[in-house]
């Protein structure tokens, strides 16, 4: 960490978004993570995505569990709602919050320990229930806070900083998310913001369970030769299937793509995702194909990144449960507690 606060001064020529904010206005406190931590780049990417989407900070709830990754919500969106929950319990807190107030944007921030070990079940259920959220896993393959033991996402055969080889199989959270029905699934790398920022922006605009697995090298314990989550390894083995541009509003796509190389996906809210194909055969609408593609490439040691699957017509938990549109906090007592007569009626209907 640093001893001084980040100076308040900003570049005099910084652009402002529709709300009149610069990207600096989306920052939080200064990071206390180790110098060079990949998580700080993800923080910067979330800031950039929220700035670009002109999101009102008070319309965001950022919820996390425990771990290096789960500390990061303190470092972005300093004017948003936040909840630092118990280890692995971010998904259930987020689900509850979402059910109570569907008007907020939910950012679930978690790590590989928080989501693939202690909170694995929570992760799975929030995805299968299609909670409308952006679930970001800052995945470094180690337990950084406890000095670098392998986490559940560490690849079999990869080496720890001390040279020990991991003999356990890795959990691929992307594969699980696909299998459990997530309607927006992506993988990216903290060292590639041009890929990551639009993915976060698109996920925020997606209605349904969005999941992004971001490989985020741990400088202190997992950035050595033999690691499969180091800067060098990820850069060498990164196989990006596409590049994304997020288009909000009605403006035409003016970017000059070569014909046939771009695929436009329109989401529920009118957001258009312009996908520049890097792999000609990859179809981001084919859940089964995506799973096969991932497995094949993983077997070759390649890390597939990009927007791997999107269902633009996805539904979310509220639709499934047919819940009331109004957030609970704006309803009066009478609506929230309609009295014993109504309860009796409900009970009677269940007899």
């Amino acid at each position: 960490m640093t001893y001084i606060a980040k100076p308040k001064f900003h570049h005099p020529g910084l652009k402002k978004n529709e709300l009149g904010y610069t990207h600096r206005d989306y920052e939080g406190k200064i990071s206390t993570l180790c110098a060079g931590c990949g998580h700080d780049s993800i923080t910067a990417s979330i800031i950039e995505a929220c700035y670009e989407l002109s999101i009102e900070p008070h319309r965001v709830a950022k919820i996390s569990g425990i771990g290096c990754s789960s500390k990061t919500p303190d470092y972005f969106l300093g004017n948003s709602h936040g909840f630092n929950s118990v280890h692995g319990r971010m998904p259930s807190v987020l689900t509850g919050a979402n059910l109570a107030n569907r008007d907020l944007i939910y950012l679930g921030v978690s790590g590989d320990g928080d989501s693939a070990s202690i909170g694995f079940g929570q992760f799975a259920h929030s995805i299968r229930r299609a909670v409308n959220m952006t679930y970001i896993v800052e995945n470094n393959g180690v337990y950084g806070l406890t000095k670098g033991q392998f986490s559940a996402t560490a690849d079999r055969g990869s080496k720890s900083k001390k040279g020990v080889t991991n003999t356990d199989n890795a959990i691929d959270l992307v594969a699980i998310a696909l299998q459990l029905g997530a309607t927006f699934v992506a993988r990216s790398f903290s060292g590639d913001k041009t890929q990551l920022v639009p993915l976060i922006a698109a996920a925020i605009r997606h209605k349904g369970a969005s999941f992004i697995d971001v490989i985020s090298p741990c400088i202190a314990f997992n950035n050595h030769a033999g690691s499969t989550k180091s800067f060098d390894y990820v850069r060498e083995h990164n196989d990006a299937v596409n590049r994304l541009d997020v288009l909000v509003g009605r403006e035409p796509i003016s970017v000059d793509y070569a014909p046939g190389t771009v695929q436009v996906v329109e989401q529920h809210d009118g957001t258009r995702l312009a996908l520049r194909k890097l792999d000609a055969d990859y179809d981001p609408h084919d859940r089964l194909g995506a799973q096969t593609f991932l497995q094949k490439h993983a077997a070759k040691g390649q890390i597939v990144t990009g927007l791997l699957y999107v269902d633009p017509d996805a539904e979310d938990l509220h639709t499934h449960l047919d819940t009331v549109e109004t957030p609970l906090n704006t309803m009066d007592e009478k609506a929230l507690c309609p009295g014993s007569a109504v309860l009796d009626k409900i009970n009677a209907s269940l007899r």
Binding site: I4, K6, H11, D40
Partner: protein
Amino acid sequence: MKPTDISAPDYFHKVVDCQWACPAHTPVPEYIRLIAEGRYSDAYMINWKSNVFPGILGRTCDRPCEPACRRGRVEETPVAICRLKRVAADFKDDIKHRLPKPGPKNGKRIALVGGGPASLAVARDLAPLGYHCTVFDGDPKAGGMMRSQIPKFRLPDSVIDEETDYVLNLGVEFKGGQRIDSLKQLLSENYDAIFVGSGAPRGRELDIPGRKEAAANIHIGIEWLSNVSFGHVEKIGRRVIVLGGGNTAMDCCRTARRLGGESVKVIVRSGFEEMKASPWEKEDALHEDIPILNYMVPVAFKHVAGKLIGVTFQKVKAEYDAKGRRNLVPSGEPDETVSCDDVLVAVGQENAFPWIEADCGIEFDKWHMPKVDPKTFVSTNPKVFFGGDAAFGPKNIIWAVAHGHDAALSIHRMLSGEDINERPLPEVHVSSQKMGIHEWSYDNDISTDKRFKVPHRDKVIALKDIRAEVELGYDLKLALGEAERCLNCDVQTVFSAPLCIECDACVDICPMDCITFTENGEEDDVRQRLKAPSPHHDQALYVSGDLKTGRVMVKDEDVCLHCGLCAERCPTGAWDMQKYLIDMVQAGSTCQSKARSAA
């Protein structure tokens, strides 16, 4: 773009905008840090070595450093560099024991014409080396225009006495009241070298109708100021018009206010914004209830029976031609006559060399200025050097000092049998400021304070006493606050490409979005691709060599706060904060040979 060569002494020097802009290249951030530490004497000595007259300049400098100050691009106002210099002078201890001693005489004799800042700077540099320096001046005391033209309410005599004495006490011979009337005569006295620092002593005339008839109440600004300074003039009429828009005009109007001028007006040809006077001098004049009227061209002095009654002005407006050049054209409004009792003409200064005979080997150009080499300051007579206003026309004190250093170096080289055209390179020191993981040997916490105002004497009291200094200077609390505003631009961000792992930590933390990792290209193209706009192309881009991904690191130096957060957040030490000190070459610098030592 090619990787930036940070070992070139000029590269980091330019990043220290204030020092680069200063003609004498005073290490500004270094002395400001010393002020913040309470080491006023040390701060003073750094200044004294570089600009010879810290106390005088701390009150009167034209401050080319301040418009250049990086802080002025980060927020509204630059650091009050000039007034901090005064703090060093005001709060220092006795520094006499730290001054050089007169060196053992080397038998060489130097004559210096004029006792102003240029000549004194030459003498300051040469006397400790053993040269016998003789300074001639028409006035009884040393100081030149600093003493004769700058009003005492801006620069008290005590400050001039102190700092001219520091020079004269180096064994310099001062011949006051002895104006040099003939260069030929001086040349015949076989001095080893002659330095002409006689200034630009003639005020420009305003030859319009009525000038002769009303002469009794029309005064040439600098002559009048000089007469006030020496006590020959003690009052002026009730209504005074000052013609001209430079700093001399500001001194004239403010002096007139103190000598009985109740209604004093400054009237200028140009627009208020384009006036030559420094903004702060205009402010001080306005503060003393002196209106400044613009776009009025004087066309005649009105007089009745040999007595001045007013000045008639033509009204003009500014028009810009296709090339953006400004012309003043009549606005069509009727002429206006402004009544007055006295007029002070401050429309410029000129050089005059009636005392240089045609057969002295000194050639003049078509503007009647001596032909002087801008690097060595030698004239067409290899033994005669010029500096200050005498060399290239009216500038200001800090330029005169800078000329003096360069001329002294030339004289020393010439008399040591060396080529004066060969100028030794400055010595450069670059050292890491890292003390611990997050500790630096400088205060990197950026103050967001706005510029602190210098306290002024109460106006009623100030206007009653022409010798009462108006500015009171910062007290120590204000000085510390102002010193903290300095961004330490001499503590450089130094990047090592081989150590970089491209983790983006520096990019993410940089409060000013200075750093970009991108593909290399031509400069204009790269500037388009930076993280933040890059409007100041005179500010360098620091470009690294190729990194592992084939990209390069590009840092726009423009608005870097030098907060060191890039270095603090760098996991591999690819960024470091290193203090850059450049020792400008002066006569007698230890490093006289052509050597380069840098990062």
